[in-house]
Structures are given as structure tokens and as C-alpha cells.
């Protein structure tokens, strides 16, 4: 009896585990990461972190695409399991993603969530309103665009079960 239940739990656990680990960035690129500290430090002094390879989450604010290159303005967001960004208020700033590929603005559009692996390549001052903002710049290695979720509330409940429901 007890053994039977253990097997069942193991199956469920494995299933959840494999779902939870669906990751945005390939293993090969993940192994190249050199900096995993807070993004706020990078945003304050981007030039200090030049050349570091990072994985960041974020929300697209703007997409400037041309035939030969694209530039995304991204609002940083913390990442959860599988490097998926969490769309909450815990942003630590903004950054730019630059790539010599064409990122279609109809696909990479404002409000979409993404995870990027890239190499920090300096910074650029731009104004937001009248505020001079330092944008860290990132040369993209890999970008994962996340599908929009219909509902953003937790779909797994911690069950305090009523016998009838099972």
C-alpha cells in the first residue's frame, strides 16, 4: 500500500519536475554565463561589467528593427524557474538588447516577456522624459520569447483537500 503510493508520488513529482525545468536558454549558453549577481549593480555601473555574459529577464518596451540589425529596449524583470521572467513590480531598471539579426516588430512587440543571454557591451545615455538614464547594452547570444499567459495567477494550489474532489 505504502509502496504503491510512493510510486504514484514519484510519477507526479517527476512530471512536475520536467514541466518546471522547461528552460528558455540552451544548456550550452547557460554554461557560458560569467555574472549572476543583481542587475541593479550592472545598471549603476555598466562599464565595470563589460564583457560579462549574463542571462536576464524582461519586458519589451520598444523595438527598433531594421534590415540588418535590431535593438530592443527592455524593462528588467526578475526571473523564476526556467529563467522565465516574473511580471511583477520588482524591476531593477532598463537595458538595451542589440543584435545583427532582424527581430520582427510584429513578433517582438511591446509588452512581451523575454529572457536573453548576452554579452554586456558598454552603455549609452538616453533621456526618459528629461531624466538622463544609463542603459546597459547587451549583445544578444540567445533570446527566448515567452508566450503570453492568459491568467497570471498560480495554477497549482496547495491543496487542503476535501475528500469529494479527489
Amino acid at each position: 500500500m505504502a509502496l504503491k503510493h510512493t510510486g504514484l508520488f514519484l510519477c507526479i513529482w517527476l512530471l512536475l519536475f520536467s514541466l518546471g525545468c522547461a528552460t528558455g536558454i540552451s544548456r550550452q549558453v547557460r554554461s557560458q554565463v560569467t555574472y549572476t549577481g543583481p542587475f541593479s549593480d550592472v545598471q549603476k555601473a555598466p562599464d565595470k561589467y563589460m564583457g560579462e555574459i549574463v542571462i536576464l529577464g524582461g519586458k519589451i518596451l520598444n523595438n527598433k528593427a531594421s534590415q540588418v540589425s535590431s535593438e530592443l529596449t527592455v524593462l528588467h524583470l526578475p526571473t523564476g524557474s526556467g529563467n522565465r521572467p516574473k511580471d511583477n513590480d520588482q524591476s531593477e531598471g532598463r537595458y538595451l538588447i542589440q543584435t545583427d539579426q532582424f527581430l520582427d516588430p510584429a513578433i517582438y512587440k511591446k509588452g512581451d516577456l523575454l529572457t536573453v543571454a548576452g554579452k554586456l557591451s558598454g552603455s549609452e545615455f538616453r533621456t526618459i522624459g528629461g531624466f538622463d538614464y544609463i542603459y546597459p547594452k547587451l549583445k544578444a547570444i540567445e533570446i527566448k520569447l515567452w508566450p503570453k499567459e492568459d491568467h497570471n495567477y498560480p495554477r497549482f494550489h496547495i491543496g487542503i483537500g476535501v475528500g469529494k474532489t479527489f
Partner: protein, 202 residues
């Protein structure tokens, strides 16, 4: 004893017929912990105790609006809905539509607004997060008036210099969040979801 607890937790009596009584005791304990936790998180006020004491006695907002200069230098707690965020050289300026605050200092009832005020900070306020119509509570010092035209009128905005700022999590659309699981508990969805940490929902 048993019937007494059955009255208090109606749903547990149902379980009692299915599972053993010991099990229902454990469930009751879990539920109790959950209730305590949710009531604790719901009661956290947005502004620190220290500042709340400094802001006593409270300055009424309508008096501040009519004679702002009389209250210059006083501490105040105000809240409302963001109308505009302006980023400037070395700081940001927020225009807020005032609204009455509840016991948690959370603004409510936009229609009961008595006017507008400005919030000034030397920090960068991210306009992509501090979006229009989001709820905000601010603790700060009254720092004068800014006279600006507003639709043909001349409006005197009291200026608040920020000490503490709290942005409220966006409220979830209850209809979209309908979840049959919770209906077993006799509709407790409303207070729980409201007290939950920020889920971003659009």
C-alpha cells in the same frame, strides 16, 4: 465539542464523514494557519510606524488644498491614483488624484477625491511601472505650491517631498479569476486574493 467545531468550520463537518477525525483536525489547523497568515499580510500598512507617528495630527487634505502655505514643513500621508509621471533632470514629479485612505493607508473610492497634488522625488521613477491609474500612497513633507493651468483654470497643486512611497499591487479582475476550487470554502476568494502579493494583471 465536536458539533461546536463543526458549526465553526462548516466544510470540515463534510470531511469528517469521509476522512477520519484526526485528519480533519489537521486540516482545521492548516486552515487556521492560513487564515492567520492572510490576515497578517492584509494588515501591513504601507507607511512605517515611525512616519505615521510623525504625521500626527493629520492635516486634512481640503485644508491643505485651500491654504497650502499654512502647512509647509508638516509631515503628511496621502494617497490616490497616478495621473502622470514626469521624469526630469535629477528626479521625478508625479501628479496624483487624491482619494480617501483606509486603515491600511490604501486609497479607495476615486469618486470621493477632493483634488490633486504633486509628489516630488530626487529618484528615477520608472514610468513603465508607475503607470496611470495605479494606486499609490506617499508619506512626505509638505513643500509649497505649484501653480499650473488645468483646463482653463489655474490649479494650486500642493507639493509633497517624498520620504516613503508605496505602489499598490494591481487589483485582479475577480470575474477572470473565477476558480471553482475556492467555492468549496463558501466564497472566501474576495479577501484572500486582495491581500496577495503583487501579481501583475492586465
Amino acid at each position: 465539542m465536536v458539533s461546536g467545531s463543526g458549526k465553526r468550520f462548516k466544510h470540515i463537518r463534510i470531511i469528517g464523514t469521509v476522512k477520519s477525525r484526526r485528519k480533519s483536525g489537521q486540516i482545521a489547523l492548516l486552515l487556521l494557519l492560513f487564515l492567520v497568515y492572510s490576515s497578517l499580510t492584509a494588515c501591513a500598512p504601507a507607511i512605517s510606524k515611525q512616519f505615521r507617528e510623525k504625521a500626527m495630527p493629520p492635516v486634512p487634505f481640503n485644508e491643505l488644498l485651500s491654504t497650502p502655505n499654512d502647512y509647509e514643513g508638516r509631515n503628511i500621508i496621502l494617497g490616490g491614483y497616478i495621473l502622470e509621471v514626469k521624469n526630469k533632470q535629477g528626479g521625478s514629479l508625479l501628479t496624483i488624484l487624491q482619494a480617501p485612505l483606509d486603515f491600511q493607508n490604501r486609497p479607495h473610492s476615486r469618486d470621493k477625491s477632493k483634488g490633486r497634488f504633486l509628489v516630488r522625488t530626487d529618484k528615477f521613477i520608472e514610468p513603465e511601472i508607475y503607470k496611470k491609474d495605479r494606486k499609490i500612497t506617499v508619506g512626505g513633507k509638505i513643500a509649497g505650491v505649484s501653480v499650473q493651468p488645468l483646463g482653463g483654470h489655474v490649479y494650486r497643486y500642493p507639493i509633497i517631498e517624498v520620504k516613503e512611497l508605496h505602489l499598490w499591487a494591481e487589483e485582479l479582475d475577480q470575474d477572470l479569476l473565477y476558480d471553482p476550487y475556492w467555492d468549496y470554502w463558501g466564497h472566501p476568494r474576495y479577501p484572500y486574493y486582495r491581500s496577495m502579493p503583487p501579481y501583475h494583471y492586465r
